[in-house]
């Protein structure tokens, strides 16, 4: 690796992978580094949306954001990486309109992967017993298997769903290798990201949007109640209310069609009992399908409703570098989608042209510039305010 080649100011810190002479890692995470890493990771996640999904396996994705999250883990440890992962998922809820169920499943699986595998992987890596490729594949495997189990436990509830274990293990190998390659291609940018000079001046934290906690807590209680009700007729009134309340209901439910497909396949056509329709569908199968499909629709719609009502003011008083970094990055997320898609196109163009090194550089450069621009704008706003405050103090004194 040659981090100084691109001549962007001070010499960046080495990536934790290359010189493995510091088993303790590379210092503590700062809010600024966390904010910039979060912006780039979220941008990479959106870039991934450019790629087509595998039919029937829509959750099989490469995980471009791990190009940031994995080195972040190797640099600052699994707890910091999990915080970054959690913040990225929150951003998906806030700006990507992701349902709460997807958030809970993804975050639960991530918690298992990072908190279970993160420490041994980081430990083995820092001692040179494992490379980026091994760490990436192991983490991808842990995450994907945990996600399969979480999806089955919460939504599908059928042991036949584990037929996906084989394809998922194979996909973990492919996606883990792809992420490791992208990390290798982006070493210079990553080294800059982890250098204190690389984060530069940052804007002040934005005040999070206020919402009343009552509706959020009530919705959360209903969400928990849905899991306890095993009669589909009791799920139907909730579904009717949600269908009336939600605007984009058709599109949201259509987006989750693979889940309904698996429910039909595993429950409707493979549950034993008395035949209802020919020799294909049993009465018991139809009942179970109705229960799980109504519950799934409720979880998806209620999750979307809840995601827009999170009381962010709860997070405003923390001294955690992760939360402060998260709040620091919030003002820039409104402008996330368009440039992210442009970075994605640029990445594909560069890869097709055979350019590997710095393939993700536009995303890194652009977000760093945006943050520095926001910092300058905040400084300019702060100066007249300070002058006005001084003048007010002088008036009071006189």
């Amino acid at each position: 690796m040659a981090p100084g080649k691109r001549n962007r100011g001070p010499e960046p810190m080495p990536l934790p992978t290359e010189p493995r002479d510091n088993p303790a890692g590379q210092g503590k995470v700062t809010p600024e580094a966390f904010a910039l890493a979060l912006l780039i990771a979220s941008s990479l996640q959106i870039m991934e949306n450019l790629l087509p999904r595998i039919p029937l396996f829509p959750w099989m994705r490469i995980g471009f954001s791990y190009v940031i999250i994995l080195p972040f883990m190797l640099q600052y440890g699994p707890r910091a990486a999990f915080a970054l992962f959690l913040a990225r998922n929150f951003i998906s809820i806030l700006y990507g309109g992701q349902p709460l169920t997807t958030f809970l499943i993804g975050t639960g699986s991530g918690a298992v992967a990072f908190l279970g595998l993160g420490q041994p992987v980081t430990w083995a890596y820092r001692r040179g017993w494992m490379g980026v490729l091994g760490a990436s594949v192991l983490l991808a495997t842990g995450f994907n298997v945990a996600q399969l189990a979480a999806v089955n436990f919460t939504l599908i509830r059928h042991s036949g769903f584990y037929f996906q274990t084989g394809p998922i293990l194979a996909w973990s190998l492919v996606s883990g290798a792809a992420v490791a390659l992208l990390i290798r291609f982006s070493e210079t940018e990553l080294a800059e990201l982890f250098s204190p000079a690389g984060t530069g001046a940052m804007p002040p934290a934005a005040a999070p949007a206020h919402s009343r906690p009552g509706p959020f807590l009530a919705g959360l209680a209903v969400l928990a109640g849905l899991f306890l009700v095993s009669d589909f007729r009791m799920q139907l009134p909730v579904l009717a209310i949600l269908l009336i309340l939600m605007k984009d209901r058709g599109r949201i439910l259509l987006h989750a069609w693979p889940f309904f497909f698996y429910l039909a396949w595993l429950h409707l056509f493979h549950t034993s009992g008395a035949y209802l329709l020919g020799e294909w569908v049993t009465r018991e199968g139809a009942y179970r399908f109705a229960l799980y499909a109504a519950r799934l629709a409720n979880l998806i719609l209620l999750g979307r409703w809840l995601s827009g009502r999170f009381p962010w003011q709860w997070a405003g008083r923390s001294r955690s570098p992760y939360l402060r970094g998260f709040l620091l990055s919030l003002p820039l997320f409104a402008d996330l989608f368009k440039p992210s898609l442009e970075f994605g196109r640029e990445m594909i163009r560069r890869l097709l042209a055979g350019q590997r090194k710095g393939v993700l550089a536009p995303a890194f450069d652009s977000w760093r510039e945006k943050m520095q621009g926001a910092a300058k704008a905040a400084e300019n706003r702060a100066e007249p305010d300070a002058e006005a405050a001084d003048a007010e103090t002088a008036d009071v004194k006189s």
């Binding site: 034993s272 009992g273 008395a274 035949y275 020799e279 049993t282």
Partner: protein, 109 residues
């Protein structure tokens, strides 16, 4: 006489010449009520076996048959026109029979 016994995995239930349903044998025992022409017949299915618990018929031959566990075993209740037939395949669609080596090797009378 079958030379090799195979554990049953599911039962098919017929009323007359019509299939009524199919049930897996794994899991805990549970009761299934079959509405026959002469009244309800109660089956107990689970833990790898199936038996008739109660029947509206007069002689109770089906009840006295006891629990069946092996593939191709049957419980018959003539008055109720019910046939309970054990199968080796789990999905109750006869797919297991197509596997080479599955089922009995030979049958003699």
């Amino acid at each position: 006489m079958a030379f090799r016994m195979e554990e049953g995995a599911s039962v098919q239930v017929f009323i007359g010449n019509k299939k009524y349903g199919w049930y897996k044998l794994d899991g805990a025992r549970h009761q299934v009520t079959v509405p026959t022409l002469i009244g309800p017949l109660v089956l107990e299915i689970g833990e790898g076996g199936a038996k008739v618990v109660s029947s509206p018929c007069r002689n109770k031959v089906c009840v006295r048959t006891g629990t069946i566990r092996h593939a191709h075993s049957e419980i018959i209740c003539m008055p109720a026109r019910v046939l309970v037939m054990m199968e080796a395949d789990k999905d109750g669609d006869g797919a297991g029979k197509k596997e080479p080596g599955a089922g009995t090797d030979a049958v003699t009378y």
